[in-house]
Subunit: 455 residues, 2 copies
């Protein structure tokens, strides 16, 4: 698609380019415009049929939108803003510098401006911030025929027409009716009789992630959003929920690998910005690892006497880190999908400690056997290799118990402190577990092994 | 909800229980039935209005479904199966033991059985395996009024009525028309004139994850599925896509923390099964870490001479592991969301190596300064602390470059080998990077430091 577009641009064959691009979905055109040279963006945008161009605008990323808004003439800007759903306009405004925002607001009518300002007040990541206020409201004394008439009249500008909302005079939500219900009922039926009154709704300040989970649980196409007084203020459609889902998963993946999350794509983010997103955690974790180093320094006398002990450190640290990663990821993901609640913590803890015991025993036995087989003929001061195998075995069990405990508790504590649980993921857990495992190892070694200079 | 249900059960107040449960969504009832004692499940199911009971059946997890199917009498089984969409029946059949499957198939009519068998043939995780065959097909010479008549007639059993599909006599997909289009056009308009012919479709054998990505990209409510001859065989609805999205994300989270992925929930899985899902990777990684241990053993003479060197090992290993985690997660997530393609690998690699250089230099400088400050008065044989700081600095840079390289390449190689890229996530990368960093460290130390017994 890109190649052919560039070719047609090169040849200045604009009519064919227009015909070619008309075959594509607005989302694809938005992607294409992100890949052509900046100087051609406005040109292609102007070649497109007006409506298709405006539709594709909604799918563009904010950099591209900014470039276009800056180069639009007044009538183009007016048309594009007019075609956008208000929630999309709000999303754009949130990403733009102040002077661009001013220009956008100058081209919206007072009523829309008022609505935009209302939507801008909801906290980021709340249901209010992702809802749309363009829905179909009906009254319960309307007939099915009245409902169709109203949908025909106002439906074209609504983000979805398939779920309609019945409200009373004070905008309290009474029930919903789907277009499927309307089609399967008689034209003269009253909406009050056919509407569904068991309505599941969310509050404007609910977290967007838990809203997205509700879509997944119930399979809805749209969810009504009500304010503190239970008045209907907007709806959230499934496409927005899906976007939240993808965003939150990406954010968790980033945090769980010690990267500061961003909304921008990989290729769009500069090398410098990528480095910036990663360096803070790396520095913090590197300096935290000094603690493990310091513990090692303290036990210099032990491993100077029995250097073989050093060679088991990587295994102990990695096993501890891996089990901590397993339990923390399980808990973090469980919290995100709401399968695990913070109040379940003791149930989870008990389960994880049972799992840890099983894992610890198996790994300790396997590793002890390995050590005995590999080193049975090696001379280790006056300590038998069985004793060393025993020390590493006990350390493995202890490390696994500690790492499961931390992996379980820290995400829940983070959640309780209103932090994202994903912050307590493998890199942090691993760093703490590393220090614990080394400390445990040399404490146990000091207690059980015969080391000159130590009790 | 659970408490009140148990209370009403206890009091044998079934009529109030029925009234109470009728207020809930089928998805909530399915969850509730998973929490009550097994002996009460069938009882509650029978208390519910027939239709609500059948609806909630579709939301249950497979264990619960199996319990119910085994205890249903013939007419109950017949009713429930009849109410299910065929794709849901197929999902259930895939999870059940053979004798239960036989019983289900005995209660389906021959036509449905034929369709079930057809759907069962699609590979797991393919578009065909998640599609539904219950959609509305129309002909292009129908008018809008004809279309409404047909929707009213067959719509009640279809998973979605909002997108309708125009096919020719050989079932080739010609175009789509939405109910919104139908409502906003004149009753006498011909579907052939108003249908959208730029239709985006998927093939039966496409991967379900890339199908889910398409929903996210385009914001569709449904996507048509065609076979090799381009004939329409089914559709995928957005709720199924959302489920796939959640499933695939959970699977990636599990794999990336070295857990064998399962579809079952955390609490439903037994301690033993959890341990089994985790032990294989743990064993493999623990034994792989022996390599790092063996490298350490080889350099015993170096750290016996300069024990301080040991205390920097945790830092080097953890920094290498963390950068490897960062780059591998970035690439794995990019591949999953299709932001990164395997053909982009050199672009990614170049970018990651630039990032790695920046990160390496900053971390090396910070760490060298720390070492000099902390140990300037410590006696280290005849090596200056500046030299040791230099050695660790160079090792950090080298380790970071290596770990970024591995973190980038291994997921892409896995993808090329048709493995899930998530398999090459932090635990595997960390284990490999650990060995590299230790090897690099002592090689560099051996080359630059004055160690008795080494060149």
């Amino acid at each position: 698609m890109l190649e052919k577009t560039l070719e047609l641009l090169e040849d200045r064959n604009y009519s064919e380019l227009r015909a070619f691009l008309m075959e594509f979905n607005p989302a694809d055109i938005a992607l294409l415009l992100g890949e052509v040279p900046e100087s051609s963006i406005l040109l292609i945008f102007r070649i497109l049929p007006k409506e298709l161009a405006a539709e594709s605008f909604a799918y563009m990323d904010s950099d591209l939108q900014e470039i276009l808004i800056r180069s639009f003439n007044d009538s183009e800007l007016h048309y594009v803003i007019d075609q956008l759903y208000i929630d999309d306009t709000v999303d754009i405004i949130e990403e733009m510098p102040a002077n661009v925002v001013k220009r956008i607001l100058r081209h919206t009518d007072p009523e829309t401006r008022r609505k935009i300002n209302e939507l801008l007040q909801y906290p980021a990541d709340s249901a209010g911030s992702i809802m749309t206020i363009e829905f179909i409201d009906l009254k319960k004394n309307m007939t099915v025929a009245d409902a169709f008439a109203r949908i025909r009249k106002i439906g074209i500008d609504k983000e979805t027409i398939y779920t309609c909302y019945m409200t009373d005079r004070d905008r309290h939500l009474l029930g919903i009716v789907t277009v499927k219900d309307l089609l399967l009922n008689d034209e003269s039926a009253l909406l009050g009789d056919i509407m569904e009154t068991k309505v599941i709704s969310v509050h404007t300040h609910d977290d967007q992630e838990s809203v997205a989970n509700m879509f997944n649980k119930y399979g809805f196409l749209a969810l009504p959003v009500v304010d503190k007084e239970n008045r209907l203020v907007g709806i959230i459609t499934v496409d927005d929920a899906m976007e939240v889902f993808a965003e939150e998963a990406s954010e968790d993946f980033a945090m769980m690998s010690a990267i500061a999350p961003t909304d921008d794509g990989y290729f769009k983010t500069s090398v410098f910005q990528h480095a910036k997103n990663r360096i803070v955690w790396l520095l913090f974790l590197m300096l935290s690892a000094t603690l493990t180093g310091a513990i090692l320094t303290k036990y210099e006398v032990v491993f100077s006497a029995i250097p073989l002990l050093v060679s088991f450190i990587p295994q102990l640290m990695s096993t501890g880190g891996n089990t901590g990663t397993q339990s923390s990821t399980t808990v973090i993901r469980g919290l995100a999908t709401e399968e695990i609640n913070t109040k379940d913590i003791f149930k989870v803890l008990r389960k994880e400690l049972c799992i840890a015991s099983l894992l610890g025993i198996v790994l300790a036995i396997v590793n002890s056997i390995r050590i005995v087989i590999m080193y049975q003929n090696v001379h280790i001061g006056n300590n038998s290799i069985y004793m060393i195998a025993f020390v590493t075995g006990i350390t493995i069990i202890g490390t696994i118990m500690a790492s499961e405990l931390l992996g379980c508790l820290l995400p829940v504590i983070a959640k309780k402190l209103k932090l994202d649980p994903a912050i307590m993921a493998s890199p942090v857990i691993t760093t703490i577990v590393d220090a614990c495992s080394v400390l445990l190892y040399f404490t146990i070694a000091g207690a059980f092994l015969n080391v000159p200079g130590i009790g």
